[in-house]
């Protein structure tokens, strides 16, 4: 047996211990590879999509790298910890330190190479599937599988260097110890759980304080408070695990009436050992889970936003033309043709808008004819309006303040044509985009409209006219390829200034929506994958910890079984030991996320009046289901092992 074979056998024959570790690292390699495949995809020509895809994937990859690094380091040092005795024996048999280092390095590299190979294999197999999802999200025509060395190179380089760094740094971990220490293993179970009472209260206090601030910010929103809350929750969580939990357990253990009760004796005592040992891991798992819950939750909440998008933009395609627009006919023709080409049926309503000066504000206002509004309303299935002569409705527009209208009815005269009108209220449906109506706009009755014959002061009759074209397309989501050239002109010219320099204004909510939807869907998808990796890794931490303690636990359960603990009671004891390990970090992460969502909701309401409660609930329920099934899976394996 060569030295390499020895290292190889060490890994392969311990594959059961390494199973969860393998699974988590293979999965993260796989996800990383799939992201890289998308990042380097040659077919994504759309610059915008490319930016989103590249940016989103890059962020996801950086998170993955950082997390995988941490995960690998933690698991490796725990693996080595569990094998201290074995290393002691090897050194005792005369192995040189140098050889031991090489052994560990070799083993880690074997692990790494296997994970990378299998991860890339699965990643490549799944990338077509992944591309299909992406294609659906972006409504792309095709996103074929491609072969390029770039994603392979990136994945291999990133993970190989990670494994090299890990294997070198983990060697340092055992270098310091003496042979005798190694042979004896670590007597970690024999230490008494120590905690500082001050830290215990500090941890609880910080958590309560952070939650209190969240409640407070429902009433007084202050975005800077979020920093304080995050910091408090972060430190609070740490002390909660290192001290507060031990303190609480200690308090319980002092009460014999509570503590000396069937399985509680074992359960609480074991809990405090596991707590002390795993405090840092619990902390990391909590933070990671909270971030995972939150990222998915936040991204999901954007779907609420998109649902309300349609209400805010009921007109499918809107085109406004100034009097001096030379392209008017050509553009409208073009749009109609494009709609026909896409096979979309549409209704076109044309608005002849006149400009007048309002006597109240001495500013120009747009005047819109009632019957034209109604003909669009019929198409949009909105309630019709009925104005008598002399009555007017103010068109809702978020750019113009209408505070003074709210207070009551307003009388004004359209000065040029001397038409008196009384503003009865507001037309609440936002059928006209805010940008198209530069000033206030009134809807007046057809009779009054016909009285407006005079042009705006200082302008000719032609110059005081604007034309709106409203296309109603029932399949508005499919209009994303209509008017792309106009949209490009709009984004290029409007991007630099608030003022529209063009003689026309064009907006296609269907196109905008498809971009928004794709962006958020991609974010959601990316977030979900990252969250899945994080959760899997968090779960494998727990599994791995259980596995390294298995020998000791087996012995303990053997004693208990001899003492007459029935199999059912054994399962109960196992439950009481596993449940806290699984659900304490998860539970705290849930509480954290719930409060974060409350905060986000408070913040969000100020911003866009969107309720995210439903989405949050769904996210929390889904994660609960995942966690519970993972718990049962691990418990099943664990019980099978200890009953061997």
């Amino acid at each position: 047996m060569t030295f390499q074979q020895f290292a190889y056998h060490n890994v392969i024959r311990n594959s059961r211990i390494y199973a969860a570790f393998f699974m988590a690292s293979i999965f993260s390699v796989m996800v990383f590879f799939v992201y890289s495949m998308l990042m380097f995809h040659p077919n994504i020509e759309d610059k915008f999509l490319r930016d989103i895809a590249f940016g989103g994937m890059l962020v996801a990859q950086v998170i993955l790298i950082i997390f995988t690094m941490f995960f690998l380091f933690y698991s490796m040092s725990a693996f080595l910890q569990a094998r201290l005795h074995e290393f002691g024996v090897l050194l005792n048999l005369g192995m040189e330190r140098q050889q031991l280092n090489r052994l560990i390095f070799l083993e880690t590299m074997i692990l790494g190479l296997i994970s990378i190979t299998i991860g890339i294999f699965f990643g490549f197999s799944f990338s077509k599937f992944f591309f299909m999802i992406i294609r659906e999200l972006f409504l792309l025509d095709s996103l074929p599988l491609y072969l390029s060395w770039k994603p392979f190179a990136l994945t291999i380089i990133v993970f190989l260097s990670q494994f090299i760094i890990i294997s070198i740094s983990s060697v340092v971990f055992i270098r310091k110890k003496e042979v005798i220490q190694l042979i004896k293993g670590d007597g970690k179970y024999n230490e008494v759980a120590t905690f500082k009472k001050g830290n215990a209260f500090l941890g609880l206090g910080l958590l309560v304080g952070a939650y209190g601030l969240v409640i407070f910010s429902i009433f007084h929103m202050n975005i800077f408070m979020s920093l304080l809350i995050i910091l408090m929750a972060f430190i609070g969580t740490y002390f909660f695990y290192t001290d507060s939990m031990l303190y609480i357990l200690d308090v319980i253990r002092r009460r014999e009436s509570l503590y000396w009760h069937s399985f509680r004796l074992i359960a609480f005592a074991e809990a405090s050992i596991k707590m002390r040992e795993n405090a840092r891991m619990f902390f990391v798992v909590t933070i990671v889970s909270t971030i995972a819950f939150l990222s998915v939750g936040v991204v999901t909440s954007f779907t609420s936003f998109t649902a309300q998008y349609r209400d805010l933009n009921p007109v499918s395609i809107f085109y406004a033309s100034d009097w001096d627009n030379p392209f008017e006919q050509a553009h409208i023709m073009n749009l109609s043709q494009e709609l026909q080409r896409e096979g979309l049926s549409y209704e076109l309503v044309k608005f002849n808008v006149k400009k007048q000066t309002s006597s109240n504000s001495h500013e120009p206002v747009n005047v819109i004819k009632e019957s034209e509004v109604n003909s669009l309303a019929v198409a949009l299935k909105l309630p019709l309006i009925d104005l008598k002569q002399g009555e007017a409705l103010l068109v809702w527009n978020n750019q113009v303040d209408f505070e003074n209208i709210r207070s009551g009815e307003e009388q004004t005269v359209l000065e040029e044509s001397s038409v008196p009108i009384q503003i009865k209220g507001m037309y609440k449906h936002s059928i006209f985009p805010s940008f198209a109506i530069k000033n206030r706009a009134f809807i007046i009755s057809d009779e009054d409209f016909s009285f407006i014959t005079e042009p705006l002061f200082g302008f000719s009759i032609e110059e005081s006219k604007t034309t709106f074209y409203a296309f109603h397309v029932s399949e508005w989501l499919r209009t994303k390829d209509v008017g792309t050239n106009l949209d490009r002109i709009m984004t290029e010219t409007m991007g630099v200034s608030e003022v529209n320099p063009n003689p026309f204004y064009f907006v296609n909510p269907g196109l905008n929506f498809s971009v928004i939807r794709a962006t958020f869907a991609l974010l959601l998808f990316t977030g979900l994958l990252v969250a899945a990796v994080l959760l899997l890794a968090a779960g494998s931490f727990v599994y791995f910890k259980l596995y390294t303690d298995l020998d000791r636990d087996k012995k303990q359960y053997d004693v208990l079984r001899r003492m007459g603990v029935t199999d059912r009671e054994l399962v109960k004891i196992v439950n009481r030991q596993l449940v806290p390990q699984f659900f304490l970090p998860w539970g705290l992460a849930m509480v954290h996320s719930t409060f974060s969502f409350i905060f986000l909701q408070a913040f969000w309401v100020d911003l866009a009046a969107v309720s995210i409660a439903m989405e949050m609930l769904i996210v929390l329920i889904v994660f609960t289901v995942i966690q519970v099934s993972y718990f049962f899976l691990i418990r099943w394996r664990y019980i099978a092992h200890i009953q061997e």
């Binding site: 024999n190 000396w260 074992i266 005592a269 303990q556 004693v559 007459g564 603990v565 029935t566």
Partner: protein
């Protein structure tokens, strides 16, 4: 009255190579007896103890413990049977490291759901007996081996089982601590008439017993009863052991060659 009866007990471990661990072993243990089982390594001592502990079942033969046949009990009742009728003392103590000395001792009682007052009273009484009162609040890692084994004995005694099974109780102890433990076992046996069955390698430990049963290769080999003086009993144990350990044929083959 016999508290433990073994009749023709045989245990075969199935596997690639079937292994006969115990072969038609029969003996009885009287109530209140302190019996030692001795034999060389691999003679089936641990298997025997596991079968009597009811955590392993014999391939054939019958066992009766205080009138009950464990083989006929369903699994759940078997656990309850162990919980009430048996007490265990192990070579490496097997105290639960997370629990204090006191908590380790009350563990069997908590499993049986007794009230805190009863548990407190029992622990107090046993701790006085075993001279553990001063270390009740300590953890197993903070006490000596002898103290740990006395704690284990306390744990085995606290629910007043009908038989205590001890597996090399002095194997991990220095001579002073071993002597303490043996004297305590002896005292417990005399005072509360608890039946004790002890598996051991140590002839000194065996010399504290009423009777020593020798087994070899899973079969009954010999048994001797104690006499008035422990010293001569010890000597006789050694004699049997020398018969057990040395193979007469080994020497003769050397001579022949």
């Amino acid at each position: 009255m016999s508290i433990l009866i073994l009749e023709e007990v045989t245990k075969v471990y199935e596997g690639k190579v079937a292994h006969l661990a115990i072969n038609q072993l029969s003996f009885e243990v009287e109530k209140g007896e302190f019996i030692a089982v001795m034999g060389p390594s691999g003679s089936g001592k641990t298997t025997l103890l596991n079968i009597i502990s009811t955590i392993d079942r014999p391939t054939s033969g019958e066992i009766t413990i205080s009138g009950l046949k464990p083989a006929e009990l369903p699994k759940n009742d078997l656990s309850l049977f162990r919980r009430r009728e048996l007490g265990f003392v192990f070579q490496d103590f097997n105290l639960l490291p997370a629990l204090t000395v006191e908590e380790n001792m009350v563990l069997p009682l908590t499993l049986d759901g007794q009230s805190v007052e009863v548990m407190k009273a029992k622990v107090q009484r046993i701790a006085e007996h075993l001279n553990l009162t001063s270390i009740l609040e300590k953890r197993p890692s903070e006490i000596s081996g002898g103290q740990a084994q006395r704690t284990a004995i306390g744990r085995a005694l606290i629910h007043e089982p009908s038989i205590i099974l001890a597996d090399e109780p002095t194997g991990n102890l220095d001579s002073k601590a071993a002597k303490d433990v043996l004297e305590i076992l002896s005292k417990v046996n005399k005072v509360s008439e608890t039946t004790i069955m002890m598996v051991t390698h140590d002839p000194i430990a065996a010399s504290y017993c009423d009777r020593v049963l020798f087994i070899k290769d899973g079969e009954y080999f010999n048994e001797i009863y104690k006499d008035d003086r422990r010293q001569t009993f010890f000597q006789r144990i050694l004699n049997v052991l020398s018969l057990l350990g040395g193979n007469v044929n080994d020497l003769s083959t050397i001579r022949l060659s």
